[in-house]
């Protein structure tokens, strides 16, 4: 897929930028069993960090109690329309990627 798993809506509001991010991810807890009774291994996003202009503006550590399709909203001071946010996620499996989104 050309597009990653993250979708972001970042909007300038006054002096601040409001960021809302959702990831397309099942957030498998490791507690569920499949139809034949075998445990489905845990597979979830562990960390999600967001940077603007090279500076980290949010760092999130998540556990398995975060819902499927994790959602995160926060606000940081500053931010200019058209600039990019760098969002980096890592999975408990070690998988990781950085995706970008434009501030609107």
């Amino acid at each position: 897929m050309a597009k990653g798993i993250l979708r972001a809506k970042a909007k300038v509001k006054g002096d601040n930028t409001v960021v809302k991010i959702m990831a397309k991810h099942a957030m498998e807890t490791g507690n569920r069993k499949d139809k034949s009774g075998n445990k489905i291994p845990a597979k979830f996003i562990q960390t999600l960090s967001v940077a603007y202009n090279g500076k980290t503006v949010m760092e999130t550590n998540m556990g398995t109690a975060i819902s499927k399709n994790p959602y995160l909203a926060f606000t940081f001071v500053g931010g200019t329309k058209g600039d990019e946010l760098q969002m980096t996620w890592t999975e408990n499996t070690g998988a990781s990627a950085t995706e970008t989104a434009k501030i609107k």
């Binding site: 979708r7 959702m22 399709n69």
Partner: protein
């Protein structure tokens, strides 16, 4: 010696008619008046919830229960169905093997037409739902049918609904055959089924916003406007008929056939009831 007699009970169906009164008309093809039914349904809800504006009913239970609404609004900040609209758009625009696509099967290239479904199809002599039309389009172009309840068909339907948001539902009943289908749907809506002996109307007319076990059923007015829906319970997107089947299972009845005549007619009736309201699908529900 005492003689104990066993008895034969014809039907032990307790008939609770407390909120309802027998109507003398509207149950035959000659007397049924869809427009009168629709206005009666609207006025029923407006009398029961006078503070709720009519156009808010498209939001289902969230029009009635503030506690649920708050959570739903929070979910709508970034609704989980957005991924499905994206996927749906890609699927909708993908060409079939013969080079054609869905756009060739629908009026206006399939954009902004959700409000006209389900519709009475004269040539087929039956009610055609959007999902049925999608699969008929595939078959006409030599493609395999999609599963009815979730996945691709729901995503395509979601995209088509999304392009139709704020368009006003306008289901037409052009002739007596269509009226018969409407009447059949109306009958289904008021028929009790399953071990719990409940009809659609029990929960979604009389029972709207009243706790039934741990749930607040939504009003039937505006029921169909937000489908397909991403239900938190499903964890994915599903069609109206998937929900119908789920409802029938909830009252412990064996569900009727997905996209079968009964369900299509029920959708026809239910959507007619919501004529005048806007398309707001896809939706997010608990």
């Amino acid at each position: 010696m005492k003689i104990i007699k066993s008895l034969l009970v014809g039907a032990s169906l307790a008939f609770v008619a407390s909120i309802t009164q027998a109507a003398n008309s509207g149950n035959t093809l000659a007397s049924v008046d869809p427009e009168a039914d629709r206005l009666a349904m609207q006025s029923f809800f407006q009398k029961r919830f006078p503070q709720v504006p009519l156009d808010d009913y498209v939001n289902g239970i969230y029009a009635l229960d503030p506690g649920s609404r708050e959570q739903w609004e929070e979910i709508e900040e970034f609704p989980p169905y957005e991924f499905d609209i994206e996927e749906g758009e890609i699927l909708f625009n993908a060409a079939f093997a013969n080079g054609k696509s869905y756009a060739n099967c629908f009026a206006n290239g399939g954009i902004g037409i959700r409000q006209n479904f389900p519709r009475w199809d004269e040539s087929q002599g039956k009610v055609v739902t959007l999902e049925l039309a999608i699969n008929q389009c595939r078959e006409a172009n030599g493609e395999k049918k999609l599963g009815w309840k979730k996945g691709k068909i729901a995503q395509i339907s979601a995209y088509m609904a999304y392009t139709s948001r704020d368009n006003v539902f306008d289901v037409q009943i052009p002739n007596d055959e269509a009226k018969a289908a409407y009447l059949d749907g109306k009958q289904s809506f008021y028929t009790r089924r399953g071990q719990l002996n409940m009809s659609c109307a029990n929960c979604h007319v009389a029972g709207a916003n009243i706790l039934i076990r741990a749930d607040l059923p939504g009003p039937t007015l505006g029921h169909v406007t937000h489908f397909p829906v991403f239900r938190s319970k499903w964890g994915n997107l599903g069609t109206l008929h998937r929900r119908y089947g789920g409802c029938q299972k909830n009252v412990r009845g064996v569900p009727q056939k997905t996209q079968g005549e009964k369900f299509r007619n029920l959708e026809f009736f239910q959507t007619y009831m919501s004529n005048g309201l806007v398309v707001n699908g896809p939706g997010a529900r608990k």
